[in-house]
């Protein structure tokens, strides 16, 4: 009851969050800080073996990056992926969720599973199968097209078409997880809203745009943010399918970083590139939060 001595500090909340914070600091915060430091050095394999071989190069890695044709191309490619891929994923997963929400018998339940499958399939298996589908000479896609006498499409051999091919693959793979989120949100919308709308004589389209979509606002926001971040780090698909080719046409920023770091052992340069990407992601995410707040 002695107010002058102040409240004793309650240590229990800190004890509870300590494990999470310590893990976060050791495995995320410290590495990020170290990587930030590394990005100002010429760290390579030699430097890794013996730290005395590392020297400070200031902003050189960063200035080099922005005059590196390959890096600029990877930024362009990543923008291409994001601008086309993200809306496509959101629209398709939302449509699939809306359709699957119409019923709940075994057919709908089966298709929920079917649409979710790609998300949990191993990327290497996917790469093998899609590699066959996309093969110019004997791929299934070109075979089907040849039946309706359409010429061979070089699915993975022409820079722009290859980007689109990878987007198709990534959308196919990305629908599942987002569909589940949308489905959960859809099932959380109280039936009474629909009943009220029907009673007011609203048709299906009106119900969709005036009831369902506004009530899915939070789910949509969540899906948009996570999908956007995921697509800015677009990596697996070009890594397993094209290795960045043809003519660096499918090289994404993340793949560029991987190649610089682990193929050519230029850790300093790769760390600088990953910081550029890190900052781009933060900016894009902040802009999104800003927009959603102003609504």
């Amino acid at each position: 009851m002695n107010r002058l001595s102040g409240k004793p500090i309650n240590k229990y909340p800190y004890l509870f969050i300590a494990p999470a914070v310590i893990l976060l600091v050791i495995f995320f915060i410290i590495p990020i800080i170290i990587a930030f430091g590394v990005s100002f050095t010429d760290m390579d394999l030699k430097g890794l073996a013996n730290l005395s071989n590392v020297s400070f190069v200031g902003l050189e890695n960063y200035t080099d990056l922005f005059s590196d044709e390959k890096f600029l191309k990877s930024i362009y490619n990543t923008a291409f992926y994001v601008v086309i891929g993200v809306p496509l994923v959101i629209i398709s997963s939302l449509s699939v969720a809306l359709m699957l929400n119409y019923g709940s018998n075994w057919l709908f339940r089966t298709f929920r599973g079917v649409y979710y499958m790609p998300s949990i399939t191993n990327i290497v298996a996917i790469a093998v199968i899609w590699g066959y589908l996309y093969n110019t000479d004997y791929g299934l896609l070109n075979y089907i097209l040849s039946l309706i006498s359409i010429d061979k499409i070089p699915w993975l051999q022409e820079p722009t078409i290859a980007k689109i091919s990878l987007i198709i693959l990534a959308v196919w793979k990305g629908i599942g997880i987002n569909m589940i989120i949308f489905l959960a949100a859809l099932q959380g919308i109280p039936k009474s809203y629909y009943e009220a709308a029907e009673m007011d004589g609203a048709n299906r389209i009106q119900i969709l745009f005036n009831v369902t979509l506004p009530l899915l606002r939070y789910a949509t926001f969540f899906v948009t943010v996570t999908t956007l971040i995921g697509w800015m780090q677009f990596f697996e698909e070009p890594f397993v399918m094209t290795d960045g080719g043809p003519l660096n046409g499918t090289l994404s920023v993340a793949l560029f970083i991987y190649k610089e770091g682990f193929q050519f052992s230029e850790f300093g340069y790769a760390a600088a590139a990953s910081f550029v990407l890190f900052i781009m992601i933060i900016i894009v995410t902040l802009v999104q939060f800003k927009f959603s707040k102003s609504e």
Binding site: F27, F28, I30, P31, I32, I34, A35, V38, M43, L45, K46, L48, A49, N50, L51, N135, T136, D137, Y138, P154, L156, Q157, M232, Q233, G245, P246, L247, N248, V253, A254, I257, Y258, G261, F262, Q263, F264, S265, F267, A270, A271, S274, L277, F278, I281
Partner: protein, 412 residues
């Protein structure tokens, strides 16, 4: 991106943790030693059983072989270099030697060279000897070798009027033209555009040579340019398929791609997957321009820089490079012996497939011995891709490539 960031800095972190490791000496009271050996791919798996014989002869040494898939090997070695926590003996692909030698991953074996007669340079092919050294250190001993030769369909070449394999550049071109003329979808020769060593093979055959002592890669030399023109011409004249088409085995089987260059591993694969063309194909040494040079590949055995079991390690390497062991290993793994003496054995000499390799191995060069080779080779492939697929001008692109490569090599 965070994942990569984290991975990268974990490697740096692990440096700091080196001090905490140790203690694992692998040596028990009575002087028994466990030798840690890293081997890659299929060889790694097969080596596990293969070392039993060595263990019997050296009861005090136990060999612990760890098989590492090729795809993971580079990362694994990086981590070992960063942490200083490596094996005692490791297999190292010849193209990786300069990169890891530069980082100090290997023990300098110069002082032990006279102690084991099987380490003698005269035992190996000329192409291998240059992979043993880095600057003035001896960093490894050739374990097995491979090289590229020409695989061709004897029946189809006969139809095209060639009783023997094309022997020169112009004959090869001629044959390719005749074979490609067979009709739509038929090609003359298959050139894998992702194969880094292929452009260099052509360049070497045309008399190209890098001058590393003066840090001059000579990519501007007429020999190099001409070889690249030759390479590109196969695609421009439709003699080789530009786009990634079917699997080469399929192409070889159906005859769509009746000639290609590849290593010894293809013999088994063709026999396995295309038994139908048995007797209708053969191997031949590379066609000649100035020379018949092909690439020297394969793996060396090296000792990790901070091992404390040097004697046991060297004993093991010495065992693996004995002629008898190498012939046994040939039977086990189908990889080619690095010891020239082994090639005198009838198992190799009297087999027409292997005989070709024996001849070709005498005219080989390893990739340019600089730690930047991987990067330079990738840049060259990208440059050629621009010309073949992107219709860029070869002359201009080569100039750009030369500038970049030259910068890479003079950087350090």
């Amino acid at each position: 991106m965070k994942k990569l960031l984290v991975l990268m800095s974990m490697m740096v972190l692990s440096l700091a943790l080196v001090a905490c490791s140790g203690g694992d000496e692998g040596e028990s009271a009575d002087g028994e030693k466990t030798l840690k050996v890293w081997a890659m791919g299929e060889e790694g798996k097969k080596l596990k059983d293969f070392v039993k014989d060595f263990e019997e002869n050296n009861p005090k040494i136990t060999v612990d072989v760890q098989a590492i898939p090729w795809g993971k090997a580079h990362d694994k070695l990086l981590t070992a270099v960063a942490s200083g926590n490596g094996p005692d003996v490791l297999q190292i692909g010849t193209t990786w030697v300069p990169e890891f030698a530069e980082a100090g991953a290997f023990k300098d074996l110069s002082e032990y060279m006279d102690d084991y007669e099987s380490f003698n340079k005269d035992n190996f092919f000329d192409g291998s000897v240059s992979t043993m050294k880095y600057n003035d250190q001896v960093v490894g001993v050739p374990w097995y070798v491979d090289t590229r030769v020409m695989y061709y369909r004897t029946d189809l070449l006969k139809e095209a009027g060639f009783d023997q394999a094309p022997d020169t550049w112009s004959e090869l071109k001629d044959a390719a033209k005749k074979l490609a003329d067979r009709g739509e979808g038929q090609y003359g020769i298959d050139i894998d555009r992702n194969d880094q060593i292929n452009p260099f093979i052509f360049a070497w055959q045309n008399g190209y040579e890098a001058d590393l002592a003066n840090k001059d890669l000579n990519f501007e030399s007429p020999e190099f340019k001409e070889a690249m023109e030759y390479y590109v011409s196969y695609f421009e004249q439709g003699l080789s398929q530009k786009e990634k088409g079917g699997d080469i085995i399929q192409g070889f089987k159906t005859g769509k791609k009746p000639i290609f260059f590849s290593g010894p591993w293809m013999i088994d694969i063709i026999q396995d997957k295309a038994p139908g063309i048995e007797g209708k194909w053969a191997t031949a040494v590379m066609p000649k321009k100035e020379s018949r040079t092909s690439s020297m590949g394969g793996s060396n055995l090296a000792v990790f820089h901070n091992t404390d079991k040097v004697d046991a390690s060297l004993k093991f390497i010495s065992y693996m490079t004995q002629v008898d062991t190498q012939l046994d290993w040939l039977e086990t793994s189908n990889t080619l012996p690095s010891r020239t003496e082994a090639w005198e054995d009838s198992a190799l000499k009297d087999d027409p497939m292997y005989e070709t390799f024996g001849k070709q191995l005498e005219q080989t060069k390893p990739g340019i011995q600089t730690e930047q080779f991987e990067r330079i080779a990738q840049e060259l492939l990208a440059t050629l891709e621009k010309v073949v697929v992107g219709d860029a001008d070869l002359e201009k692109e080569l100039e750009k490539f030369n500038k970049e490569a030259q910068e890479l090599i003079t950087e350090d």
